[in-house]
């Protein structure tokens, strides 16, 4: 039997505790061939996800169950290459979209924007299911909702212009986050009180990593409802609105084996 040049890392049993690439073994102190090439494949796949377009008809069909009038807008970035290099254009509506948006009578409490961001896959996989959970909760709170707006080649701040056009008192942006090697489908939620162009990140609250293998829909929804409730009470979002939401009692974190 020949001796292997790969030294195992004898804590592979911990792999079930995290999606992180732990216990990969070592060749000398370097990465062995197998995990090295696995990484290269994952990188190639994540690169592909960045350039995937949003399947609008499929998304619209998925959202139909919300029974809300929908609209679709585009940012001023006309294609993916421009989107990647010109974030300023991804924050603005193109002219046709700007002209097309009409505010509902009396505005609305909350406008919902569904933006492709850097991962259309994240939106395709998560947006409709998450909203089908959250929209009934929002209605129960007595909030008036603007028409959900699908925005393509869009960045978070496009919600400010859309929210202002809809005369919304708050805007919620669901957006595809930058694809990770192990999570090409991660969705972010951004809540902004009194949206208008020129708002910056300190005026927003963010809930990140909403996806099947990340923050679950019920957990994300609970955090979001907490933030919306507080934002209405305080009349603001951003760094002065601290997320004090306790995790759902049902979700018990596993114990930390290092200290227990």
């Amino acid at each position: 039997m020949t001796r292997s040049d790969v030294t195992p890392t004898p804590w592979t049993a911990l792999r079930g505790l995290t999606p992180a690439r732990i216990a990969l073994g070592r060749a000398g102190s370097s990465l062995p061939t197998a995990p090295h090439l696995e990484f290269q494949l994952a990188h190639a796949r994540a690169r592909k996800a960045v350039h995937l377009g949003l399947d609008l008809p499929a998304l619209q069909a998925d959202l139909a169950g919300l029974e809300l009038p929908m609209q679709t807008v585009a940012s001023a970035a006309t294609d993916r290459a421009m989107y990647l290099q010109r974030p300023d254009l991804g924050r603005q509506l193109d002219r046709a979209s700007r002209d097309a948006i009409a505010a509902p009578e009396g505005g609305c409490d909350l406008a919902i924007v569904i933006a492709d961001g850097l991962s259309a896959l994240a939106i395709q996989s998560n947006a409709a299911s998450f909203l089908s959970l959250v929209v009934p909760m929002l209605r129960q709170m007595g909030l008036t909702l603007g028409p959900p707006t699908i925005a393509t080649q869009a960045r978070v701040a496009i919600g400010d212009e859309i929210g202002a056009s809809l005369r919304a008192r708050m805007v919620l942006v669901l957006i595809g986050e930058r694809p990770g090697l192990s999570s090409p489908d991660s969705m972010g939620l951004y809540l902004t009180h009194d949206p208008k162009p020129g708002r910056t990140d300190e005026a927003r609250n963010c809930i990140s990593n909403v996806r099947a293998a990340g923050l679950s829909y019920p957990e994300a929804a609970q955090k979001l409802i907490f933030l919306i409730t507080q934002a209405r009470k305080l009349g603001l979002t951003g760094i002065h609105l601290k997320d004090e939401a306790e995790p759902l009692a049902a979700i018990e974190p596993r114990r930390n084996f290092l200290i227990e």
């Binding site: 999606p19 300023d88 850097l118 999570s183 990140d201 939401a245 306790e246 974190p253 114990r255």
Partner: protein
């Protein structure tokens, strides 16, 4: 307002402002194109570099790239400038200063004494006329040592921040990454978690957990949860064990304001951390992160190029006497640093500028999946920064941050850099690794599982 020009063979190149001269002279990057301030082509860039090289260093004390009246960072730079420290180079031009820095007569002690006399704009200007090898050679001369529970930045040492991020902040998942990192000799700079949730209860749980792990295994290191400074202040008020206070900082008042901070708040954060008295060896109690492009991203750049603004962030950082400063170089994306080439150049510039200004510079050698970069680019930057004497890098499992969704250096990468460059971890941490059989006397990983962790791993499985 003075204007700047350079004549080559009858053709005169004119630059209306100091900010414009700096922007045109800076090596090409996508963020300066995005801002509409980059040189038109390589010839205009070279002409601007020639004009910049002729500029006296002292000119930066009289002409600000961001107006003094409008910006507290400019006021900080001008009002705290140490004329006596500046005296040895006060007569030099930018080009002459580059030669002075390269001279064999200029050593680490001279550079340490000079730091308070340098402004960010002076070192940024100099970096623009340096080749990569100059940025490496000069930075390598500088030593910046900081302390909390161990000693960071000593010659021949390379430290790592162990970054055990988890997509839902699960304690067991985080513990698994911490163990993986410790076994690979990572974590001497800090064990620092980017929390997935920015909530105070979540940060509280994580801080207690890190505190218990460090205490249980008696690890000579420190911990941090990378949350906003106002959160850390509140957590300290609630008697949560905060070792190190974190904050992202930028080079203009408006950009800092977009982060929800100003200089007074940073001072408040530092005072809160000091009030706990948790450091055993020193009082460097802050961990700061920066990155080229952050001011432009916040629409707060005043027409100044992103590399100069990054250097100005270091003026903000040095008011905090930080334990660690980390330029998160490739995180921001291709609209600011387009590809591996631009990321590598920016990483070397940031390390050079930070070190000359007296900061314990590290670098998050990283890229995102929407940038034109890959692992080979990171290997290049890691090797170059290792040679340049970088204080610390990140260490994560398998280069894949499963929470922040980007790629940075792995635990394995840190061992590669230490091996090829003959570098070791911080002395107190190195002694701990050997004492517990994680590393052998030659500094190599042991083949056997150390007894200290055997029980914990068995129990977890």
């Amino acid at each position: 307002m003075p204007s700047y020009s350079h004549t080559i063979g009858g053709q005169t190149w004119r630059f209306d402002t100091l900010a414009q001269l700096m922007a045109k002279a800076t090596p090409e990057r996508s963020g300066d194109h995005l801002a509409g301030i980059a040189a038109i082509d390589a010839e205009e860039r070279a002409a601007a570099q020639l004009a910049l090289a002729d500029l006296p260093l002292a000119a930066f004390l009289h002409d600000a790239v961001v107006p003094y009246e409008d910006d507290e960072v400019t006021r900080l730079i001008i009002d705290t400038h140490d004329a006596r420290a500046f005296a040895p180079v006060a007569h030099l031009t930018v080009g002459g200063f580059r030669d002075w820095l390269l001279s064999d007569a200029t050593d680490g002690a001279a550079l340490e004494a000079l730091a308070p006399g340098l402004t960010p704009e002076m070192v940024a200007a100099t970096s623009k006329i340096c080749r990569n090898q100059d940025l490496i050679l000069i930075a390598r001369k500088v030593r910046v040592t900081t302390r909390f529970r161990n000693t960071l930045g000593l010659p021949g040492r390379l430290s790592t921040r162990l970054q055990p991020n988890h997509p839902t902040d699960d304690p067991a998942g985080i513990a698994a990454s911490i163990l993986d990192g410790l076994m690979f000799g990572n974590g001497d700079a800090i064990i620092g978690i980017n929390p997935a949730s920015d909530s105070l209860p979540a940060a509280t749980r994580l801080l207690h957990m890190l505190d218990e792990v460090i205490a249980r295994y008696d690890i000579p290191t420190q911990s941090c949860v990378l949350t906003h400074v106002t959160n850390s202040i509140e957590l300290i008020r609630r008697d949560v064990p905060v070792d190190i206070v974190f904050q992202s900082v930028a080079g203009t008042q408006a950009a800092n304001s977009s982060f929800g901070i100003d200089l007074a708040l940073l001072a408040e954060g530092r005072a809160a951390a000091l009030s706990q008295g948790r450091g055993t060896l020193g009082d460097n109690v802050m961990y700061l992160e920066t990155g080229q492009g952050s001011a432009l991203s916040a629409n707060a750049h005043h027409g100044v190029d992103q590399q100069t603004l990054e250097a100005r962030a270091y003026a903000v950082a040095r008011t905090c006497k930080p334990l660690l400063v980390n330029s998160v170089v490739g995180f921001i994306g291709p609209e600011y640093l387009y590809d591996g080439r631009q990321i590598i150049r920016a990483g070397l510039e940031d390390h050079f500028c930070g070190k000359l200004l007296g900061l314990p510079m590290g670098c998050d050698i990283c890229y995102t999946n929407h940038a034109e970069a890959d692992q080979d680019d990171m290997d290049n930057l890691l090797t170059l920064l290792g040679v340049a004497g970088i204080t610390f890098i990140m260490g994560i499992p398998g280069s894949d941050d499963v929470m922040l969704n980007y790629q940075t250096t792995s635990f394995h990468d840190a061992l590669y850099a230490r091996k090829v460059l003959g570098l070791r971890p911080a002395p107190e941490f190195e002694a701990w690794l050997q004492q517990h059989g994680i590393f052998d006397a030659q500094g190599r990983m042991a083949d056997e599982l150390p007894s200290m962790f055997r029980q914990a791993i068995t129990g977890a499985a």
